[in-house]
């Protein structure tokens, strides 16, 4: 009866409730987090396999997973389990340095579980309004995580994040309601889920659909971090704990794209593809260009990675805008980006733990100080800037190739922006990796909790760059066919 779908978001909720009862038991908190994330990954694996076999999987009419949903569930679960394992090692170091206490640790795990639950629910739900509630819930749970260290700058970043994202989501809600009102007038029946909206798409008022989609794109685009709604991202990324940022960049961004894509299919059915194409290309292009240029002036490596995430969000939007091969490449890019960005953030997390600074001028000699992390950081860098022969290179080429015939100038400018981003990144990474380490700094990694997940992620990313599993290919092709 597809109970797995119910369990997928119930398990993290139960884990959150159990964690709430454990104020001073660090080991038990860690075990609950680990077991919960492993169970979630197992359930996700079952769900994904079922969708590969049956094309969709449903628990009543309220929780439905199609190929696109399965793709996101798989990514969320995989990145989630690595983030949880990494969190254990990361937070142990923070406790040892007396930066946080056991109560704060408990709060972290509770909020992390609630964050995971909200993301799973957003993917599973078949109803636009419930999806909105779930994504709003991610804003609210993560606001406290951004403020985790309780410094003035963290409070400011969290407040800015809350206001901008809540505002964006209210605009998205308005767009959703206008959409549903239009659909309700077209066919006087109770309409609540994506399938029913799609069925009446052709009879929707074109003007109303256009207005609604603009609000939706701006609203959910705020959550994705597309320019110019991106201003919360660098601040939030620079202040939140590293495992949380990995989830933000690798997973939450993809989840926030989901309602945009769902509504896009309906709008395309109602109006043809040109309208959504123009909007996605516009926001995608300015995101890539602005982020690439701003990466140059960053002095904080977490902010640098935030702008890199904005750049990749822009690339994904471009891919969906171009359509065809671009859609396929964008979907695969979402997967690769989730893996490699998480790897990069975890590596940077180790650098932060070692050097206790996020300013690039204070980081030198990572290769000596953290030999294994430096190799993984290098893999992450090479992967994220799209160097061959890794997966991101292929997906970027796919996206740009898709637009070459129809938008040659836009593609040329995007390539230039990507080159600028590469130079900006290269400058930073080489400066950080080489040079003399500070006097008195102990060389070596911290623990297997902060290295093993990175090694496994790196291997996963490298292997998948060359071998795309049949199941993943199937999911991507099916998702692409529904989107375009």
């Amino acid at each position: 009866m597809a109970m797995e779908l119910l369990f997928l978001f119930c398990v993290p909720i139960v884990a959150a409730l159990l964690s709430l009862l454990l104020k001073n038991n660090q080991r038990l908190l860690e075990r609950i987090a680990l077991i919960a994330s492993l169970i979630e990954t197992g359930i996700a694996f079952v769900v994904v396999n079922t969708v590969i076999r049956l094309q969709s999987y449903a628990y009543s009419t309220h929780l439905i997973v199609d190929s696109l949903g399965a793709l996101l569930i798989g990514t969320t679960a995989v990145v989630g389990v690595f983030a949880t394992i990494y969190s254990i090692g990361y937070l142990r170091r923070e406790i040892k340095k007396e930066i946080i206490d056991p109560v704060r640790l408990m709060q972290y795990y509770v909020l992390l579980h609630l964050f995971q639950a909200a993301m799973f629910f957003a993917i599973l739900t078949a109803e636009p309004i419930l999806m909105w509630i779930a994504i709003e819930a991610t804003t609210l749970s993560t606001a406290f995580l951004i403020n985790f260290y309780r410094k003035a700058s963290a409070v400011e970043a969290a407040w800015k994040y809350l206001i901008i994202n809540s505002l964006g989501l209210l605009l998205a809600l308005f767009g959703t309601l206008v959409f549903m009102a239009s659909a309700g007038h077209a066919v006087p029946a109770s309409l609540s889920n994506w399938g029913e909206l799609f069925a009446v798409a052709a009879s929707l008022d074109p003007v109303v659909v256009k207005i609604a989609f603009v609000f939706l794109l701006i609203g959910y685009g705020t959550k994705v971090g597309l320019v110019p709604m991106h201003t919360w991202k660098p601040d939030a990324y620079s202040k939140a704990p590293t495992p949380v940022i990995a989830l933000f960049s690798g997973v939450l961004m993809n989840v926030a794209f989901l309602p945009i894509l769902r509504f896009k299919t309906i709008v395309d059915q109602a109006l043809g593809i040109a309208f959504t194409q123009q909007l996605l290309l516009f926001f995608g292009f300015i995101s890539v260009v602005v982020a690439s240029l701003l990466m140059f002036e960053q002095r904080n490596y977490k902010r640098l990675l935030a702008f890199s995430s904005i750049e990749h969000a822009g690339l994904i939007a471009l891919g969906f805008g171009f359509g065809g091969l671009g859609t396929i490449a964008a979907l695969l890019h979402m997967v690769y980006h989730a893996l490699v960005k998480s790897l990069l953030f975890f590596s940077i997390g180790n650098v932060f733990l070692k050097f206790s600074s996020t300013k690039m001028e204070n980081i030198r000699g990572v290769m000596s100080a953290l030999p294994l992390t430096s190799v993984l950081l290098l893999i992450g860098f090479v992967g994220v800037v799209g160097m061959p022969p890794f997966g991101v290179f292929l997906t970027e080429m796919g996206i740009l190739t898709a637009g070459m015939a129809s938008h040659p100038i836009l593609v040329a400018c995007t390539i230039l922006a990507l080159v600028i981003a590469f130079i900006g990144f290269f400058k930073v990474i080489t400066a950080m990796l080489f040079g003399e380490i500070p006097d008195g700094m102990k060389k070596g990694e911290f623990s297997r909790w902060t290295t093993v997940p990175l090694v496994v992620l790196a291997c996963l990313f490298v292997v998948m760059s060359f071998v795309i599993p049949d199941g993943l290919r199937e999911l991507i092709m099916r998702s692409a066919s529904t989107l375009h």
């Binding site: 309004i129 410094k151 409070v155 400011e156 970043a157 809350l162 206001i163 309601l177 007038h185 609540s192």
Partner: protein, 217 residues
């Protein structure tokens, strides 16, 4: 039906007027009161729509709105204002004259052909829908124009009221589901307000947005 249309119009205009008054009010307690009155008008609107459309769930939505937005939320905010001895808001970025000019411009835009498509979804009360859209714009201006955390929270809540107002007029299905979602959002905002107002006050010694400049490198 004519009586209910007149009543809807009166309620709509009252909700709209509260949105305008918010911009000229400087005292925090009056801001909370204006929000409470606006929410009460939404309650009456829900009751009227429940009668017109013979939808029992709208009565439930009205009750939920009354308890949470009209009674609990204002009580909660008044307690916060007393706790931190907050009385008057700072002067906004735009003075009253410029603010009202901006609101006039936005009202004209809400009634313009660009957005008339949305209003046409409810032909019987298309002007009310346009007023609702204007209210959403007013709330956005309020958020950008005010310099304090408390004002921003109230701005967010009035934006929610605007969205709900338009949604109800447009006859969106599952209004109870919508109210539940908004109520969930409101309750969590109250948790956030409790936590963040205290934290912001402790870190910055003030609830003024201008004081929050630690992120500037």
């Amino acid at each position: 039906m004519t009586t209910s249309v007149s009543l809807l119009s009166v309620l709509g205009i009252l909700v709209f007027m509260m949105s305008v008054f918010l911009h000229v009010i400087k005292k925090y307690s009056w801001l909370v009161l204006a929000y409470s009155l606006q929410s009460f008008c939404i309650v009456l609107l829900l009751v009227q729509l429940a009668q017109d459309r013979a939808e029992p769930t709208l009565y439930l939505a009205a009750l939920l709105t009354l308890v949470v937005k009209v009674l609990f939320a204002p009580y909660f905010f008044m307690r916060l204002l007393r706790q931190y001895q907050l009385k008057f808001a700072l002067a906004p970025y735009l003075n009253n004259s410029l603010t009202l000019l901006a609101l006039m411009g936005l009202t004209a835009f809400a009634f313009s052909p660009a957005l008339s498509g949305i209003a046409s979804l409810f032909p019987a009360q298309s002007k009310l829908v346009s007023l609702g859209i204007a209210m959403i714009f007013f709330a956005l201006v309020f958020l950008m124009n005010r310099k304090e955390v408390v004002s921003q929270i109230i701005g967010m809540l009035t934006l929610e009221n605007g969205v709900v107002f338009v949604a109800l007029l447009l006859g969106v299905e599952q209004p109870f589901g919508l109210e539940l979602g908004i109520t969930f959002d409101l309750l969590v905002w109250m948790i956030i307000a409790t936590v963040f107002i205290g934290v912001i006050y402790k870190q910055f010694g003030s609830l003024h947005i201008a004081e929050m400049s630690k992120l500037k490198e």
